[in-house]
């Protein structure tokens, strides 16, 4: 479903290498973790996927679509196929949990009826039915990340991209978030996650891609965290 074909990314006119000859595929319904030290190129890789950045060389395909050939006006439509989750949550502080999620649906042009129906469902999936009218400031880190995950899935994307989703969380909240991502994956959504957390990887027992200095150094089905 996703194909990276010999992708390289150079910054500063070639002085610093973020990605070098990266090739791999992701099949539908896979749960892929990308691990590596800071600066190994994990985040750059995800940026290529949501067309935030273009490769210096090589191509990235989403099914048969060359991502970096998509005209700018059509990019929002492409991005709706992808749900994103970040380390710092990126929730809007002046909106309640409900409004944050509804906002994502409004931006996608969903009808008011759909919003009223789907937002509570998404919040139920992340076990936050009781925090529906709370503002982000009133939620714990784990709860905020679960709201962010609910926002990412509410438009039924084909893929969830999670960039260090547990980076700011304590072990219990980390466990909950990973369980939710696993549940989403079991329901049929492809998940691509970057992480530093050894426990998360070992617990998951799914495919692990290990990166170092912009290159893929290991790619194991049912991998362990090895650096």
């Amino acid at each position: 479903m996703i194909y990276f074909d010999n992708v390289s990314k150079l910054y500063n006119g070639g002085n610093s290498v973020a990605l070098e000859g990266v090739s791999f595929q992701v099949a539908p319904k896979e749960f892929v973790s990308i691990v590596g030290h800071s600066g190994a190129g994990k985040t750059t890789l995800l940026k290529m996927l949501i067309a935030e950045d273009r490769p210096t060389d090589g191509k990235v395909f989403f099914e048969s679509l060359d991502i970096h050939q998509i005209p700018r006006a059509k990019l929002p439509k492409y991005r709706r196929k992808i749900g994103t989750v970040f380390q710092d949550f990126k929730l809007l502080p002046h909106m309640t949990a409900y409004e944050n999620i509804a906002f994502a649906m409004e931006a996608n042009g969903r009808s008011d009826e759909e919003i009223a129906e789907n937002v509570p469902q998404a919040l139920a999936l992340v076990d936050l039915e009781d925090k529906i009218w709370n503002f982000p400031g009133e939620l714990s880190g784990g709860e905020k990340q679960r709201v962010a995950i609910a926002r990412a899935i509410v438009n039924q994307p084909d893929i969830i991209i999670a960039d260090e989703p547990t980076g700011n969380l304590d072990p219990i909240a980390t466990y909950e978030v990973v369980q939710i991502l696993k549940k989403i994956n079991d329901l049929g959504t492809t998940v691509i996650m970057t992480t530093h957390n050894k426990g998360v990887i070992d617990e998951l027992g799914r495919r692990v891609i290990t990166m170092d200095e912009g290159r893929i150094v290991r790619d194991d089905q049912e991998g362990k965290y090895v650096l």
Binding site: A73, P76, K77, R80, F103, A104, A107, N108, N155
Partner: protein, 306 residues
């Protein structure tokens, strides 16, 4: 489509109220900017009218000798009227000249007595010539001095052309008029561009507070139009509010200045403001709307790239 418009309008209004403080700051700055635009418009109009008044007062007078023949005068008059630069030629007969003179000096005993002692009318007929443009007087004066040179020295027709005498003051006036014209244009350009820059920066600041929201909107796949819409609407609202406010400030000022200006410039600013109100309203509120909308668009574009 309709849902999208509804949402854009709603979030435009919500943004306007939620950032009330920033909105008010933007409106005040834009009000000052539009007030400057309005004032320059008023001053320009005032100067235009008073320049026109001044220009209408400039003319060339040709005084004829006392025994000049009417047909010679008529011939000169019609040849002057044939000149392309000449706007108007007014003939004053000897009798009219005397009547005007007596009228003007009727309170001065000595002059009236002297006039009586002369017995005969000492004044000649005259032509008063008005050019279309101030700069054209030179050419007309040239034409008249050529005419004078062609005359038979035994039987002169033209006694005196007063342009040569007035030339210096006419030149000075032309200089002043041109300088004032130029400096108002320069002042207007400087003031209006300062106003545009200040407005642009204020709105950019207002949108800077929303940059987080813009990045989240992009993240969840909102189209650029959907992101830009509410901000452009807010810009338009700033424009309308500050345009109306600027007009409300200008109103009492012209009301107060109107009579003062009338006695000095022979032009009532207040009457101009009232009679030309639809045009002034359209210009000030219109430029507010354009200013607000364009500034918003440019400011949001900063956060929409890639």
């Amino acid at each position: 489509m309709w849902t999208a418009i509804k949402r854009v309008v709603r979030s435009g209004f919500v943004g306007f109220w939620r950032n009330a403080f920033v909105s008010i700051a933007a409106i005040f700055v834009m009000t000052v900017a539009l007030f400057v635009v309005g004032s320059t418009m008023m001053i320009n109009q005032l100067l235009d009218v008073s320049l026109e008044n001044l220009q209408n007062k400039v003319d060339i007078n040709v005084y004829f000798v006392v025994d000049a023949q009417q047909e010679d005068i008529d011939a000169l008059k019609s040849s002057l009227e044939g000149l392309p630069d000449v706007e108007e030629v007014v003939f004053t007969s000897r009798e009219d000249a005397l009547a005007g003179f007596s009228e003007r000096w009727r309170n001065d005993e000595t002059i009236m007595q002297g006039l009586e002692e002369l017995g005969d009318n000492p004044l000649g007929a005259s032509l008063s010539i008005r050019a279309r443009e101030i700069s054209q007087y030179e050419g007309i004066a040239q034409f008249l001095s050529e005419q004078q040179a062609l005359e038979d020295p035994q039987r002169p027709l033209i006694d005196e052309v007063n342009f040569v005498k007035n030339k210096e003051s006419i030149d000075k006036l032309t200089g002043i008029i041109n300088a004032v014209d130029r400096s108002t244009v320069i002042a207007m350009i400087v003031l209006v561009s300062a106003a545009v820059l200040i407005t642009f920066n204020t709105i950019r600041l207002a949108i800077y507070t929303s940059r987080e929201e813009i990045s989240v909107m992009r993240l969840v796949g909102a189209s650029n139009t959907f992101i830009r819409g509410p901000f452009m609407l807010q810009g338009i609202m700033y424009g309308i509010a500050s345009g109306v406010l600027a007009l409300l400030i200008i109103y009492p000022i012209v009301l107060w200045l109107g009579p003062e200006a009338e006695s000095f410039f022979q032009f009532n600013l207040f009457n101009y403001f009232i009679s030309d109100f639809p045009r002034i309203f359209a210009i000030i509120v219109g430029s507010g709307i354009v200013l607000g909308m364009v500034s918003s668009m440019m400011a949001v574009a900063r956060y929409l790239h890639v």
